[in-house]
C-alpha cells in the first residue's frame, strides 16, 4: 500500500517536473502551450496555431535535455541500488568499481590533448569523441577491476572493492597529472565536465546512449531476488538455488554500461546513486523489488529537477548539475537521516 502510494507520488511528481522543465528557461512557455505542443507533435491534436518558436525551443532544445536527465537519473538510481546490493554495503556506488575514474581519465586526456594529435579524429567525429572516450575509459577500468577480482573463476566482492580502490587511485593519478599540465581554458572544460552537466544534450547523443542506458534500467530489476539474498551472503544464495556468479557478472556489466554511457554525455554527477537508493529504502523497506524501480523513478525526478534549477536559478548562467544535486540532496538526506536515526544505525 505504502509502496504503491510511493510509486504514484513519484510518477505524478515526475510528470509535473517534466512539464515545468519544458516550460521554464530563458524563454518562458505557459504550461497550456507546452501541453498543446507536445500533444500536436504526438498527433493527438490537429490544426493548432502554436508559436513555431516555442515549439522549436521545446522540441529541439528542452525535450532532448529533459529526456537525457530522465535517463541519466534513472540509470544512476538503479545502478547505485544494484551495486550496493552486490557489495552488501549501503555506502557503495558504481564509482567504486572504477567506472567514473576511468571515464574522467579518458576525458581529461582527450580535453588536454585536443590541441595535439586528437584534433584530426576530433574533427571527423566532433563532440562525440569525448563521449566515446569516456565510455571506453569506464568500460576499461571496470573490466580491469573485474579481472583483478577473480578467484577460482568467480569474482570476489572483497577483492573487487580493493581492486576498485587501486584502479581509482591509478586513474586519479593520471587525471591529476594531465590536469596539472593543462592550460587555463582546458582546466575550465575539465572542471565543468567533472561536475556534470546535461547541457550537451542533442537528439543525436540522446538516441545514441538510449539503448545502453534503458536496457540496464529495465533488466536490473529482474535481479531483485538475487540482490536480496546477497544481504544474507553469497553461499546462502547458492544453497537456495540462485546462480551467484551470473548475478555478479550481469550486475557489474549492466551497471558499467549504464553509468559509462551516462557519464559519457553528462559528465560525473555525484550523490544521486548514493542518496536516492538510501531514501527509497527508508521510505519503503529494503526489498529490491521495490527499491530498484523506485530508485529509477526517484533518480529521474531528482536529476530533472536539479537540471531545471541549475539552468534557471542564475539565468543566463548555467551551474554545474553536480553542485545542485549536492546542494539539493544534502539537506533532504540529513533531514531523513535525523528523522530515522534509529533505522539507520541498524543499516
Amino acid at each position: 500500500m505504502k509502496k504503491t502510494l510511493t510509486f504514484l507520488i513519484l510518477i505524478a511528481a515526475l510528470i509535473f517536473t517534466i512539464i515545468l522543465s519544458l516550460g521554464l528557461g530563458a524563454m518562458r512557455i505557459p504550461v497550456k502551450e507546452v501541453i498543446t505542443i507536445l500533444a500536436s507533435k504526438a498527433g493527438l491534436l490537429s490544426n493548432t496555431a502554436e508559436d513555431p518558436l516555442a515549439a522549436g525551443v521545446i522540441l529541439m532544445i528542452r525535450l532532448p535535455r529533459v529526456i537525457l536527465g530522465l535517463m541519466v537519473g534513472a540509470a544512476l538510481g538503479t545502478t547505485g541500488t544494484a551495486v550496493q546490493g552486490i557489495f552488501r554495503n549501503p555506502l557503495a556506488e558504481p564509482g567504486l568499481i572504477g567506472i567514473s575514474a576511468g571515464a574522467s581519465m579518458m576525458t581529461v586526456i582527450i580535453i588536454a590533448l585536443e590541441g595535439l594529435f586528437f584534433i584530426q579524429i576530433s574533427q571527423s567525429l566532433g563532440y562525440s569523441l569525448l563521449a566515446i572516450g569516456a565510455f571506453f575509459g569506464s568500460g576499461l577500468a571496470a573490466l580491469l577491476v573485474y579481472t583483478l577480482s577473480k578467484t577460482n573463476g568467480q569474482p570476489n566482492m572483497a577483492l573487487m572493492l580493493l581492486a576498485g580502490i587501486a584502479i581509482n587511485a591509478l586513474a586519479g593519478a593520471f587525471t591529476g597529472l594531465v590536469t596539472y599540465l593543462s592550460s587555463e581554458q582546458q582546466l575550465r572544460s575539465i572542471t565543468f565536465w567533472m561536475l556534470g552537466s546535461l547541457g550537451g544534450a542533442t537528439w543525436g547523443n540522446v538516441l545514441c546512449i538510449a539503448p545502453f542506458v534503458i536496457l540496464p534500467i529495465v533488466i536490473l530489476p529482474t535481479f531483485s531476488k538475487g540482490l536480496n539474498v546477497f544481504a544474507i551472503g553469497e553461499s546462502q544464495a547458492e544453497l537456495i538455488g540462485l546462480n551467484t556468479k551470473s548475478i555478479k557478472v550481469w550486475v557489474v556489466f549492466l551497471s558499467t554500461m549504464a553509468v559509462g554511457a551516462s557519464v559519457s554525455v553528462s559528465g560525473i554527477i555525484g550523490f544521486v546513486g548514493l542518496l536516492v537508493p538510501h531514501t527509497m529504502r527508508l521510505i519503503g523497506g529494503v526489498n529490491h523489488k521495490f527499491v530498484l524501480p523506485a530508485s529509477a523513478l526517484a533518480g529521474a525526478l531528482v536529476l530533472t529537477l536539479a537540471d531545471l534549477i541549475s539552468r534557471t536559478i542564475v539565468e543566463p548562467i548555467e551551474l554545474p548539475i553536480g553542485v545542485i544535486t549536492a546542494l539539493l540532496g544534502t539537506p533532504i538526506f540529513i533531514y531523513i537521516m535525523l528523522r530515522d536515526k534509529k533505522k539507520i544505525t541498524n543499516l
Partner: protein, 278 residues
C-alpha cells in the same frame, strides 16, 4: 539414501577430512559431533554440495550429488549455516521467503506463501513477521534463518536437511522446539543431519550419532553405542560418567568438572591481580 564413500577434503596440503564413509537412510536423524576443528563443518559443506570433495564420492538417491543442477539441489537439500549475518534490514517474512527464491519465478505462488507462513508458525515467528532482523536478538535471528531453511524444503519429501549448530544462541524452549521439528521431519521421510555440541540434548532426539576426530569418523552408532566414557575421552579429552536416565531411558552423560589453579596460568601476574580476575 545418502551415501558417503571414502570422502576426503584437502586444502593447501592439509587434510581436513580423511576417508569418511557412511550411509544414511531416509527417516534418520543424525547428530555429527566432535571437538572444535574435527571436520564437522567441512563435512557439512561437502554434504550440501557447497564444496567438492578432493577424493571419494557422495551420492543422493543413487545419483552423484555433484551432477544435480543447482535448481534440483535447492529442492533436495537445504542447509542452515553456522554464520548468518545480514547486511540490510530485511523483515522476518522477507528473509523466510528467500528460502523459496530458487523455486518461483517473478512472483511467489500460493504454495510458496503457505510454506513461508507455516515455517514461520512452527518457529514461533508469526507475531514478528514485520520486524527487521537487525533489531532482533541472536537467538531470534537464528530462528528466522531456521524458518527460511524449513520453508525451502517445506513441500518436499525425502529431502536432506543439514543443520550446522542450529541451536546457537537459542533459549531452552527453542533448542527443544528446533530438535523437535528436525525429528518430526525425519519421521516424515527426510534425512536430517545436524552438528550438535550438547551431547545430552542430542541423545534425547537423534537416532544415530557420528563422532568425528581429526578429520576422520571415530565412531558411528546409536547414542547408547557411541556414548561411552572411552569414546568421549578420546574425542573430547574430558572424563565423563555415562548413565541411562530412569525416566526417558536415554543415554546421558555427566562430564567431570575441570578445576584449575589460577596460579598455573597467571604466573606473570601478581597475586592481587589474579584474585581480582577470579
Amino acid at each position: 539414501m545418502l551415501r558417503v564413500e571414502a570422502v576426503g577434503f584437502k586444502v593447501n596440503q592439509r587434510n581436513l577430512l580423511n576417508d569418511v564413509s557412511f550411509n544414511i537412510r531416509s527417516g534418520e536423524f543424525i547428530a555429527i559431533m566432535g571437538a572444535n576443528g574435527a571436520g564437522k563443518s567441512t563435512l557439512m559443506k561437502l554434504l550440501s554440495a557447497e564444496q567438492t570433495p578432493t577424493s571419494g564420492t557422495i551420492s543422493l538417491h543413487g545419483k552423484d550429488l555433484f551432477t544435480y543442477s543447482r535448481k534440483e539441489l535447492s529442492t533436495k537439500r537445504a542447509m542452515l549455516q553456522q554464520q548468518n549475518a545480514i547486511s540490510m534490514p530485511f523483515s522476518v517474512e522477507e528473509v523466510v521467503m528467500m528460502g523459496r527464491y530458487g523455486q518461483y519465478g517473478h512472483k511467489p505462488v500460493h504454495r510458496d506463501e503457505v510454506a513461508v507462513a507455516e515455517a514461520m508458525e512452527v518457529c514461533g515467528l508469526t507475531d514478528m513477521a514485520d520486524r527487521t532482523l537487525l533489531t532482533m536478538s541472536g537467538g531470534e535471528q537464528q530462528r528466522v534463518h531456521l524458518a527460511r531453511v524449513l520453508a525451502q524444503l517445506w513441500d518436499q519429501k525425502e529431502a536432506v536437511l543439514l543443520l550446522d549448530e542450529p541451536l546457537n544462541n537459542m533459549d531452552l524452549q527453542f533448542q527443544h522446539q528446533t530438535l523437535g521439528i528436525a525429528s518430526a521431519l525425519a519421521k516424515k521421510g527426510f534425512i536430517v543431519i545436524s552438528v550438535l555440541h550438547d551431547i545430552n540434548l542430542a541423545a534425547q532426539y537423534v537416532s544415530r550419532m557420528i563422532l568425528m576426530k581429526g578429520g576422520r569418523k571415530w565412531w558411528d552408532g546409536s547414542p547408547a553405542e557411541v556414548l561411552s566414557p572411552a569414546h568421549i575421552y578420546n574425542t573430547f579429552s574430558i572424563n565423563a560418567r555415562v548413565y541411562t536416565d530412569d525416566h526417558t531411558l536415554r543415554t546421558q552423560i555427566i562430564p567431570d568438572e575441570i578445576c584449575l589453579d589460577a596460579q598455573t596460568f597467571n604466573s606473570n601476574m601478581n597475586p592481587e591481580a589474579s584474585v581480582i580476575i577470579l
